[in-house]
């Protein structure tokens, strides 16, 4: 039997969506062999979280009432202790920024192999087959492994679990060694505010690394002016300091849902797509016909942006 332990993700009082997706992924794996699905929720208002996580297919929710916010030391200790107690075949965590801050430590501590950023999983009880991407989504791979493992899952790849389960909700008395907690979280700060809110725009002219040089941004600004649209960008443009943080679309930037999103010289990495896939109409201008952005685009021009963008600006003069 393959029992599965999934560890929920929450921040500042709210469970994150991926927690419910983990329940689905965990249930699917456990189902292959009729195993149990255990959910762990660590820190914060654990009882309230446990009620929410008690969705269809959950056999038990284990609450660890220690501290408010994520601390990787607490998560690592609590998860390894739950593993020792429950002996699940698989430990599933989100491939979130916090997931990547403790899952590798759990794997190392338990001497288990780790597979990260999976987008599909299958098991026959013994062999796990994990699908993941390489080269920024240009190829997919399958990786097989025998026996127990720690696995992180990519957000928004599994549907959220629904319904209400009849899970046993149990307080787990984790023995947290405070002397071993070498990091202290002092607070949070929202960044990326300022004069422009790209999430309010109807049309976004969004620019990526294909623009090559800061000076070239001029043709993007001209297009945005001609269209009465707003300029946004992928991460490298902001990392380079060419546009401010409040223009960044994606996982660590803003989530946008304009009527039209024009992606110019943007490859469509998962962290970018997380911020714009809800746009009504997506247009890609990219020389690479195989760029991952093509998978979610409604319309595409597979041509040089330095030819297409000025021609488009011309259209509206």
């Amino acid at each position: 039997m393959t029992d599965v332990l999934v560890v929920a993700d929450h921040r500042r009082g709210d469970l994150r969506d991926v927690s419910y997706e983990l329940v689905t992924a965990g249930r699917e794996l456990a189902d292959e062999t009729g195993g149990d699905l255990h959910v762990a929720v660590i820190s914060g208002t654990v009882d309230e979280f446990a009620d929410k996580l008690n969705r269809e297919g959950v056999d038990a929710v284990h609450t660890v009432d220690y501290g408010e916010e994520f601390n990787h030391g607490v998560y690592t200790q609590a998860t390894t202790q739950l593993y020792d107690e429950l002996a699940p075949q698989y430990v599933l965590t989100p491939n979130s920024v916090n997931g990547l801050d403790y899952a590798p430590a759990v794997a190392n501590e338990l001497d288990l192999p780790i597979v990260t950023d999976t987008v599909a999983l299958e098991t026959d009880g013994e062999t796990l087959t994990a699908t993941r991407e390489m080269y920024g989504g240009k190829v997919e791979t399958t990786t097989e492994l025998e026996g127990p493992a720690v696995v992180t899952i990519r957000g928004a790849e599994w549907p959220a679990a629904e319904g209400t389960g009849d899970a046993a909700i149990e307080a787990f008395d984790a023995d947290i060694d405070e002397d071993a907690l070498g990091t202290t979280v002092n607070g949070f700060e929202e960044v990326g505010g300022g004069d422009v809110d790209i999430s309010e725009a109807d049309v976004l002219v969004s620019v990526g690394r294909g623009i090559e040089e800061e000076e070239n941004l001029e043709i993007i600004e001209e297009l945005a002016d001609a269209l009465d649209a707003t300029v946004s960008a992928s991460r490298p443009i902001v990392d380079n300091g060419w546009l401010p943080k409040n223009r960044q679309v994606g996982q660590s930037g803003k989530v946008v849902t304009p009527d039209v999103y024009i992606a110019i010289g943007i490859s469509g990495a998962v962290q970018h797509v997380a911020g714009m896939k809800g746009s009504d109409t997506i247009v890609a201008i990219n020389t690479d016909p195989n760029a991952p952005i093509m998978d979610i685009a409604d319309y595409a021009i597979t041509d040089d942006l330095f030819d297409v963008v000025p021609a488009l600006t011309e259209e509206f003069h």
Binding site: P104, A105, T183, T281, E315
Partner: protein, 263 residues
């Protein structure tokens, strides 16, 4: 203070490529210093320029071919480099997180740094796990996805910001010794100067075998096996406009007018 920076040469892929078995055929591959590592190197060099670090050492696991790439870090200011390679590593499909952890631990134990900087992930296989795994293994502290580091490091504490999702940053104090995984945008990586490039050729690049770093050849035996690689099936029903730039821009212009969003 001594800083060790883990660096890796990553494979880059051309727009059009072919897959052979579980690899992309060689002729479609290029090589570059991992984007995230470039920021990690810059951060270390800045700490040295600020008089906080005395020595910056880079370490890579890779064959002789990657030396050109690794020297880029020396050209930007790292003092010396270590490259671990071994016949046993030749032709290994997938060097997993456990193996990288074990090999790098050997080097850290030998070098005894106060701070290890790694990239958040490597751009090619994107495991994103080695830095934290290494820290745990060493009994070091750690922080993943760091986009700001205070340059004082007093009282054995590194004050960092971790970049969470959705424009939120976590302010965290990390006890040293520690491993920090560095996110892009934390600084502005410099271009190597001509003088730097010339100097880099003379800097020490020490090649070590698995035995030299005290690791058994069995480290390459992985629980993981890469069994397939393929181009993802496109689920898209994208309409591709063909023609000259004027023609395709015209199509897009019409679309915007149809949607009523263009002036």
């Amino acid at each position: 203070m001594k800083i060790l920076v883990t660096v890796k040469e990553v494979a880059t892929v051309e727009d059009e490529f072919e897959i052979e078995g579980t690899e992309i055929a060689d002729q479609y591959l290029g090589a570059d210093l991992n984007e995230w590592d470039d920021y990690a190197v810059e951060e270390a060099v800045q700490l040295q320029e600020a008089g906080i670090a005395d020595e910056v050492v880079t370490v890579t696991i890779g064959p002789e071919d990657c030396e050109q790439t690794i020297r880029q870090a020396l050209a930007k200011g790292a003092d010396r480099a270590i490259r671990v390679w071994d016949d046993a590593l030749e032709g290994v499909d997938l060097l997993d997180v456990e193996a990288k952890t074990e090999i790098l631990r050997g080097v850290v134990e030998e070098e005894d740094p106060d701070l290890v900087l790694s990239g958040v992930q490597s751009g090619d296989d994107s495991w994103g796990a080695t830095g934290v795994s290494l820290a745990e293994d060493l009994g070091f502290e750690w922080a993943a996805v760091v986009n700001h580091l205070e340059h004082d490091l007093e009282d054995g504490i590194a004050s960092v910001r971790r970049e969470l999702e959705g424009g939120v940053e976590e302010l965290t104090d990390v006890e040293l010794p520690a491993v920090l995984t560095i996110q892009t945008g934390i600084n502005e990586p410099r271009y190597a100067s001509l003088r730097g490039i010339r100097q880099a050729q003379r800097k020490e690049l020490d090649v070590q075998s698995l035995a030299d770093v005290g690791v058994d050849e069995g480290v390459v035996d992985s629980d993981l096996e890469l069994t397939d690689m393929y181009e993802p099936e496109s689920e898209s029903d994208v309409t591709v406009w063909e023609g000259s730039a004027e023609e395709t821009a015209g199509e897009l212009g019409d679309l915007l007018r149809d949607k009523g969003v263009a002036p």
